[in-house]
Symmetry: C2
Subunit: 487 residues, 2 copies
Amino acid sequence: WRRLYEVAKLLELKARLGGDDGKHQFVLKTAKGTRDYNPKQMAIREKVFNTIISCFKRHGAETIDTPVFELKETLTGKYGEDSKLIYDLKDQGGELLSLRYDLTVPFARYLAMNKITNIKRYHIAKVYRRDNPAMTRGRYREFYQCDFDIAGQYDAMIPDAECLKIVHEILSELDLGDFRIKVNDRRILDGMFAVCGVPDDKFRTICSTVDKLDKMPWEDVKKEMVNEKGLSEEAADQIGEYVSMQGGMDLAERLLQDHKMSQSKQACAGLSDIKLLFSFLQLFQVTDKVVFDLSLARGLDYYTGIIYEAVLTQAGVAAVSNEAQNGANAEESVSVGSVAGGGRYDGLVGMFDPKGRKVPCVGVSIGIERIFSIMEQKAEASAEKVRTTEVQVMVASAQKNLLEERLRLVTELWNAGIKAEVMYKKNPKLLSQLQHCEESGIPLVAILGEQELKDGVVKLRVVATREEIDIARTDLTSEIRRRTSEA
Amino acid sequence: WRRLYEVAKLLELKARLGGDDGKHQFVLKTAKGTRDYNPKQMAIREKVFNTIISCFKRHGAETIDTPVFELKETLTGKYGEDSKLIYDLKDQGGELLSLRYDLTVPFARYLAMNKITNIKRYHIAKVYRRDNPAMTRGRYREFYQCDFDIAGQYDAMIPDAECLKIVHEILSELDLGDFRIKVNDRRILDGMFAVCGVPDDKFRTICSTVDKLDKMPWEDVKKEMVNEKGLSEEAADQIGEYVSMQGGMDLAERLLQDHKMSQSKQACAGLSDIKLLFSFLQLFQVTDKVVFDLSLARGLDYYTGIIYEAVLTQAGVAAVSNEAQNGANAEESVSVGSVAGGGRYDGLVGMFDPKGRKVPCVGVSIGIERIFSIMEQKAEASAEKVRTTEVQVMVASAQKNLLEERLRLVTELWNAGIKAEVMYKKNPKLLSQLQHCEESGIPLVAILGEQELKDGVVKLRVVATREEIDIARTDLTSEIRRRTSEA
C-alpha cells in the first residue's frame, strides 16, 4: 500500500512538471472527490432517476429547484459539527456564498421565503461536502440527493407512512435485493435516555454513540459511553437492553407497558405514534420490510419525531468504484449499507421565518450514489449490453457517391420522428457502417443502392439476424416503427 | 424609479435589522442573480427539456455529465477577458477550484483526459458567470446550457449541417414564432479583414466591434472602428460594404468571384465550405430559415470555422421577468434576441492534450433561459392552466371514519401504477377534497361511502362535467386508465 502511494505521488509530480516541451504543465483531472459520468453511467443514471421520479409523481409530488449556492448565513447553524464540510465561495466582492450541503435546508428556506405552508415536492440535485472521499463506497464530494418531502399541518403519521411506502416502492422496483426499513422516533430515544438516567446535556452525544451500533459491536459502544462520555455503567447497561430491541407494533405496545419507559411522556407519545404508523403501514401493505428498531439514531440535529433508514440486507451486495473496475484495487469491494433515510423535522422552517412560524415537515432522501454503484456493478456483471443511444436505424449504403441520397433519406426519417444516424463520410465502407450498428446496439440498417433508388425501395436489414428485405420507401417509417416498438 | 429603489433599500435594511425579538437577523433571499424555480416553472422547464432532449436523441446523441467545479487551471486562458466573470471557490486547503463557465471547456477536458477522438454527445447543466444580472432579459448568474457537440475527424460540413438541422427542429417544435439562423465563417471574417487592410494584430478587436452590429447602427460601429480602434476610414468603409451582405449559396458564389475577397486563401476556403454547407442544408430541408450573413462575428476566441446564431424575428417577442410578472416593473419587457449559437472549434481539445493532438469539434448551445422566459410568458397569457402534478385520481369520501378505507383504495391504485392522492386528514370535507381537484387539475375523483363499500363499487366523478358513475371496484384501475389515457 505504501509503495503504491509513493508511486502515485511520483507520477503526480511528473505530471505537474509536464512533458519535454514544457507547454502543458497542468494536471488533467477532475477535482478531488468528483467524477465525470460517461455515457454508459448516464444511461444507468437515467434509468434509476426515471424509476424514482415515476414513484414521486405517482404520489402526486410537484418538483422545485433551488440555486447550487446559498447565502452563507442561510446554511449557518444548521449542520452542527458538519459545518466544517461546507464549501465556501471565494469573496470576490458582494455576498458571501456557500455551496448547498443538502436539499433540506434550501427547501426550508424556500418555504419560509415564499410563505408556503403546505406542499408535497421532490427535488433531485447535486449537493457538496468537503468530506474524505471514499469513491469505492460511493462516497463523493459532489453527489446527487433525491428528496421527497411533505410539508403541512396534517393528521398524525399519514404523511410519515406515505414516505415509507415510497421507499418500499422504489427499492422494490429498482430490484436491488432484499431490504429492511428501520424506524424509530427521536422522542422515544430522548425518553429512553431520560429514564435510563442520562443527564439532559448528554442526550446528543450519547445519541451519536448509539448511532455507531451499525458499525461497532455493543461492547465497544458501551466502552465509548462509559470511558469517553462519562456515563455510569448502569445507565449504559439499561440503554444496552433497550437498543437491542426490534419488533413491530407489538414491541411498541409492550414498551408502553414497560414500567420504566412509560414514565416518560415523550417516549409514550413516540410509542403511540409508532403504533399508529404501523396501522397505516398495514393498509399500505409494506409491514413485511419495516422494523421498529430502538438502536436507530440518525445523526442530524433537526429531526423532531419519527426517523427511518433503509438498508440492503442481501449478503454479498457490494459496490465497486470506477478505479476498482479499472483493475487498480479490485479487492476493495465493500458493503453499501444505508440507501435511504429521513424523518420528521417540525422546527426547521421556523428557523427561517421572521416570526418563527412553524411548518411541520416529513421527508425522505434516497441515497442514489450507492444505488448507482450497485446498478453499475450489476450491468458490468450481466451479459446484456447497456445502450447509450436510442437510435432505431442507421442509414447506410454499399456503393460510392450516395451521400446525398443518404442525407435525403435520413431527413425523411428525422422529420417523421424516427431516431436515425448516418455516417459523416462521403463514401463509408458498408462494413464500418454495420460495425457501428453492432457496437452501439442499433437494431436496423436502411441500405440504399442504385437499384433500390430505381425501384423506390430501401433494403431494411435486421442487425441481429442479418435478415434483409426490400421495403417500399413510402412504408419505411411505419415498418421501422413497427419493428422497434416492442423494444 | 429612484423612489422605488429607496423604498427597497429601506425594506432591506429593516429585514437586516430583524424583528422585535432580534432573533432572525438574516436576509431571506437567494444569492444575487439566481432564482428558485417554483413547481409551475419546473413544469414548463420539463416540457422544454423534453423537446430538446428528444431532438438530441433522435440524432443519436449520447449524454455525459461533468462536475460543477473544475480545477482553476483547467479554465485558465480559455475565455479571454471574460475570465474575470469566473466564480472561484475559497481556498480551504487542497486544490484551487472554480465553477464551470460553460460546458464546452469541460467537454474538451473530458475528451483529452479520456483520449476520446469521436463522440456525439449532449450535456444539459447549469453554468456560472459573475456577470451583471439582467433577470428581466433572462440573464442570470446561474443558468442552464443545453449543448450538442460532434467531435471527430469527418468529411467537411456534414456534422456542421446537422447542428443547424437540430437548431431548426428544436425552434420549430418549441413553436416560439418565426426565426432566422445566421451563418458565417471565422475564415471569411479574417480573410475579409485582411483584404480590407486591417492589420493582423487588430483582427480580434475589430471582430468584436463588428459583433455589435445587432445592437448598434453601422454609423456607430464605424465610429468605434475609426476613432477608438484607429482603423483607417477606407478600411472601415470596405468592411461596411461586406458586412451589409446577406444571402445564400448564391452570395458565397458571388464572393468567390469578388476581385478583392478572392485574394484571400482563407476567405476562399470558408466560402467554399459555406457553399457545401448550403448544399447539405437543402437536403436537410432547412434553407428557408438559414441566411449567410457577413456581419455575424461571435465573441468567443476558440472558433476556427463555421459560426452560427439563431434569432427570433417575430415582432413583439418579449421576455418578462418574475419581478415584472409580480407587478413591480411590468413595462420593462424587452426583446430576447439570440436563442441558440455555436460553431466549429478544432483547436480546443488540443490545448488539453499533453501532446497537443487535435480533435475537430462542432457544436451548438441552446439559450434555454430566454426560451423559458418566452414559454412562461405564453403560459401566463394563455387561459390554459399549467398542471404541476400528473395525478389522475383523488381518493375521497363524503362520510366520516373512512380514512382506513381511503388508504386501502389508494394503495390498490398506487400498486397498479395509477397516479393517485388522498388527503392527509381523518375526516376531510368532501368540498375541500373536490376543491383540491379543481385547483390542481386532477380529472377524476374516486368517492367511497358506506353504500359503495357494501356494493363493492366506487363512485367515479369526472371533475370537469360533475358526472358520477358507479364502477365495480375490480374494474376501477382499467376505467381510470381508459379515461386518462387520451390526455
